[in-house]
């Protein structure tokens, strides 16, 4: 018998009796999404810039490039000084990656990013800037998981919580974001 059949066969002897799937009907607490998202993002040491949209983002990118920093932008309408390389490994010296955030989650400040080519891009850069479209906010993870894209062959990731100060905990080492981007800046095109 194959290991698969052996496992499936053994499962027939389970002592558990069938339990129905619960109905997931969490009520959404009424809340101003932008304010809650901004507060959550601040809690996890992210930065939210709401003014000026993509033009402000390009101005920020221009500033970074003027400092000699390496900036890769995959956001339409924003230009960096690096092109998408042939191999993922060539992204190792990227200082700032500018990527599109698809969805922001108000309850925890997480932003969904999906990546097909060079999936390591949001992780390998030193700093990550996510451009989040207007109206791309949901209240909680229940809403988020039903709205995110996750196509075949895709990596989708909720990016959150760059709590750098935790590294300085006096008692022990805390490895948060030790390997991936040190800072997450969310440039939102939300206009109030």
């Amino acid at each position: 018998m194959s290991s698969k059949n052996s496992i499936l066969s053994a499962l027939k002897q389970s002592a558990l009796t069938a339990h129905p799937m619960p109905v997931i009907d969490i009520e959404v607490t009424p809340q101003p999404l932008v304010d809650t998202f901004a507060a959550s993002l601040a809690t996890v040491a992210g930065e939210l810039h709401q003014q000026g949209g993509l033009a402000a983002l390009q101005a920020k990118v221009d500033e970074l490039m003027a400092q000699g920093l390496q900036v890769l932008s995959l956001v339409e309408g924003v230009s960096g000084n690096r092109q998408v390389p042939n191999t993922a490994h060539e992204l190792a010296d990227i200082d700032y990656a500018i990527l599109a955030g698809e969805l922001g989650v108000a309850e925890n400040g997480a932003i969904w990013v999906s990546q097909t080519q060079h999936r390591v891009t949001p992780f390998i850069c030193e700093n990550l800037i996510l451009a989040l479209p207007e109206k791309a906010l949901v209240a909680n993870m229940h809403q988020a998981v039903n709205q995110v894209s996750l196509a075949q062959g895709e990596l989708g990731v909720f990016v959150a919580d760059h709590l750098k100060r935790q590294i300085l905990n006096k008692h022990w080492l805390w490895g948060r974001t030790v390997h991936a981007a040190f800072r997450c800046i969310c440039i939102s095109v939300i206009r109030r």
Partner: protein, 373 residues
Amino acid sequence: MTELYSASGSKVHSHKADIFCRDETRVDWHSKALWVLREKRDRAAASIPEWEQLRQLGSELKLHTLTHLTDYLQQFEQQCQANGIVVHWYKDGQEHNQIVLNILAKHQVKRLVKSKSMLTEECHMNPFLEQHGIEVVDTDLGERIIQLAKMPPSHIVVPAIHMKKQEVGELFHQQLGTKKGESDPLYLTRAARAHLREKFLTADAAMTGVNMAIADKGAVVVCTNEGNADMGANLPKLQLHSMGIDKVVPNMDAAGVLLRTLARNATGQPVTTYSSFYRGPQQGGEMHVIIVDNGRTEMMKDKILAESLKCIRCGGCLNTCPVYRRSGGYSYNYTIPGPIGIAVGAQHDDTNSIPWPAPYVAVVLMYAQLRCH
């Protein structure tokens, strides 16, 4: 240090706890450090009005999945295959390790970067691969620390919690060439980052554990705070994910519930820094998912033990349990220590050395079960 806290040698919990308790200062800060996590958990839970409803939903959806495991595992496999993911099924650790070796050998892998996986600890995979000439690099900071110190994890979420920063400083001085006497956490963390970046960039393959496997999507979810799983899985062209049969959940809705509770329970964070959903290999790459039983179907035959397979490994019961906090993870004689380790390790307890005595269980029930998912 290594000898003092080695899991080999003494056979019973009380004796090993006694060894840990000889250093009262260490016991005190160990207990306090873990209690800090517990307090953060309480604050995070209190900030969600529907917290108790979430716990109930999480418990029920896991129970539902366990009672329909045959269907969900098969659906998961079919969906994975449709996404170009190769799925393997294996009965035990030995079979698991052998297939991992076979896959790595086929691709002539010399260096494997690995993120945290209690399953591979359970299967003792690292020493097996190392015996066959493969360099295995644990990339979670805490895991790398204990790997360099040649120790097993003492906690399932914060594996090097038993070590003081001065000890890590000395270890890094010896192994990574950092300055002698330097124990500044930021300095040490930066040194580990530089050391491990080189490993990521030169790795031939990556392996991760699996927090959830989504049956109707054919995707695996990997949660880390450090980004190490994703740095690994997306640089080399070969990615492997090992999971116990208990990790499957029906759909994204289920994942949404568990993602809301996992990090809040573990460390008090609203969500882990990276919650990554892999639904296929990268362009030109290969992705394998290895589904392992390793005693879980045996546990399913016992109604009480079967319920412990609902566990999402948040580590909250360890942080809560006063016995764990004051006896240390190495006193438990099993890879997974603390209250949940007693339950899921019971079937491996041939020498009756895991602490089951009634008073202990009473404490576990009183302090931990109330906080369990």
